[in-house]
């Protein structure tokens, strides 16, 4: 271990220190009011540290740390910034939720620990650190899901824990086979060995890929591994639901990209079977997610199913990436990879706005049934308009960022000659329009109930309006986001 190693993972170290400081602060000082400012200042500092590292890193060059087991590159730095931003947002919207709780500092530090796990995950290049980071991501989320300690929350927590335990066991078995047939835990060495593998090894590698994909499928809630998502989204506290829907899913997609580009891209046969398996997952996720979402009456369950269908769309991008890699080499897959990142950005931005508005509404009406949203446009036009724009963006219509995300994903799929997959995607977009627009109908065309009132403070209003503006601006000028997503994946390709 030397200074360069510490330099490479300094954001992660600072996050851990911040989380521990919060717990210690709670032990020694009685002023709980200072906790929130401390969290915000700490996160801002770490964000600036990340920006500093990003400015100082040479593009197209990565810094290896801890004998190649961790890496500092633009891909990792981008996701560091992304996860810090999401944590910032989660803590911002949990203001009302955490007000009555006694365990404030534990809540904040669990979120921060989990985000640290995600930051380590996107920069790990070795199986052991990868697994540890994965568990560091999952276990705090389990505690947070069960944070209310009532029956719904505990039930969601235990479901999440059992299914994530099974999925990590599957993932581990896949990793062990990979390790056993290559004799190394470093991604680089594994890639070297499987690029010259014989036919007998190919079967073992295929088996390990199937296990790995089932493990990832749980993490990104792709059908048929999606069963946990609706129940956990429903039972968890609202801010944690948004954490699961945004950060957890994005982390899963990010490590999928990392693993494909650092291990599996070298073996063409293997890439072919990966894309075949992922096609099944993608089609199932889109159809199951959308068709079951139609029947939902609870907004949280609806969001869960809609996020499952979005996983299907993201997987279209990953599939076209794999097809392009197997047909014309890694260097041509830049467009497809950047379309995945762009979709992630658009999806997260839309979900930020969605969860802010839905949190404000459900806190005020004390119900998460969609029918109780009736006539909100008459009481709070801003919220109703934001929610409408969010729905339009989730469907993928202009002039919102969701339109360009879908357009780029489909563009990548067309380049990979997957026209039929694009058609299936378009059919699903049409199906999803039905249930998204039903919410808009309930908001605008139905009469409000008598004693409905919505109060939200100045900060929340400012935040809602700024996300609204961002969705709109990036729906007209997506160029900055597209450039950013090219920069991010450039190092991988």
């Amino acid at each position: 271990m030397n200074l360069q190693d510490l330099y490479a993972i300094s954001p992660q170290i600072c996050m851990i220190v911040l989380g521990m400081l919060l717990i210690l602060f709670d032990l020694f000082f009685a002023q709980k009011i200072l906790l929130r400012p401390l969290v915000f200042i700490g996160l801002l500092g770490i964000f600036l540290l990340n920006v500093f590292l990003w400015v100082n890193i040479d593009s197209n060059k990565s810094i290896d740390a801890f004998s190649n087991s961790l890496v500092l590159d633009e891909f990792g730095l981008f996701f560091n910034c992304f996860f810090i931003g999401v944590v910032f947002f989660i803590i911002f919207i949990s203001q009302d939720y955490i007000k009555s709780s006694k365990a404030k500092s534990e809540y904040y530090s669990l979120i921060i620990f989990s985000a640290t796990g995600m930051m380590l995950l996107t920069s790990s290049m070795e199986l052991i650190s990868f697994y540890i980071a994965l568990e560091l991501t999952t276990l705090p989320i389990v505690a947070l899901v069960a944070f209310n300690r009532d029956i719904k929350s505990s039930e969601a927590g235990v479901k999440f824990l059992i299914l994530s335990g099974i999925s990590s066991a599957l993932l581990l078995y896949g990793m062990v086979i990979l390790f056993g047939f290559t004799g190394s835990t470093l991604f680089d060495d594994i890639a070297n060995i499987i690029s010259q593998s014989s036919i007998s090894n190919d079967k073992a590698l295929l088996f390990s890929s199937i296990l790995l994909i089932s493990g990832f499928g749980f993490k990104i809630s792709a059908a048929p591994f999606h069963m946990w998502a609706p129940d956990v989204y429903d039972g968890a506290p609202m801010p944690i639901t948004s954490y699961l829907a945004i950060a957890s899913k994005v982390a899963g997609i990010a490590i999928l990209l990392r693993i494909i580009y650092s291990i599996f891209h070298v073996n063409i046969n293997l890439i072919g079977s990966w894309s075949e398996i992922l096609i099944v997952l993608s089609i199932l996720s889109m159809f199951l997610g959308n068709l079951i979402a139609i029947r939902q009456t609870n907004i949280k369950r609806l969001i869960a199913y809609s996020s499952i269908s979005h996983t299907g769309f993201i997987l279209i991008g990953v599939i076209s990436l794999l097809v392009i890699v197997s047909e014309s080499g890694v260097s041509n897959s830049l467009d497809a990879a950047s379309s995945v990142i762009f979709y992630i950005l658009g999806y997260s931005l839309t979900n930020l706005a969605l969860f802010t508005t839905v949190t404000i509404i459900t806190n005020n009406i004390n119900s998460s049934l969609i029918d109780d949203f009736s006539g909100i446009s008459k009481i709070s036009p801003v919220l109703a308009f934001t929610l409408t724009l969010v729905m339009i963006s989730l469907i993928g219509l202009p002039p919102t960022v969701g339109f360009f995300s879908k357009a780029y994903i489909f563009n990548a799929a067309i380049k990979a000659d997957l026209i039929w997959l694009v058609l299936l995607g378009l059919i699903n977009t049409a199906i999803s329009a039905y249930y998204y627009l039903r919410i808009v109908k309930i908001l605008y065309l139905e009469e409000p109930s008598d004693n409905l009132s919505i109060n939200f403070n100045y900060n929340q209003k400012l935040f809602v309006i700024s996300t609204l503006v961002l969705i709109f601006i990036f729906g007209i000028f997506p160029r900055p986001l597209i450039d950013l997503s090219y920069i991010v994946v450039n190092i991988l390709v």
Partner: protein, 103 residues
Amino acid sequence: MDLNNFLIVSAILFSIGLYGALTKKHLVVIFMCIELMFNAVNLALVGFSKYQNLTLVNLNGHIFVIFIIAVAAAEIALGLAIVMSIYKNKDTIFITEIDSLKK
């Protein structure tokens, strides 16, 4: 003794664990089954590490096992805490009777 024996036992253990985790009704038994899956993985890792003489001295597998044991312990601690909280709320830990999220 060769590598195959280790791998066969490990595969059998893993399958028993997976079957149990998906079919059992008692929460603690489910956690035991998950634990069985982790231990199957550990057995395979130790076997690979000992018999697959690909590089010089390969301790990676053994180290991996230590990490897996630690993480599995953390997972079970968390699981039992949540089981306690379910038992306080509902007086049962059979998953067939815990159905408040289904409507």
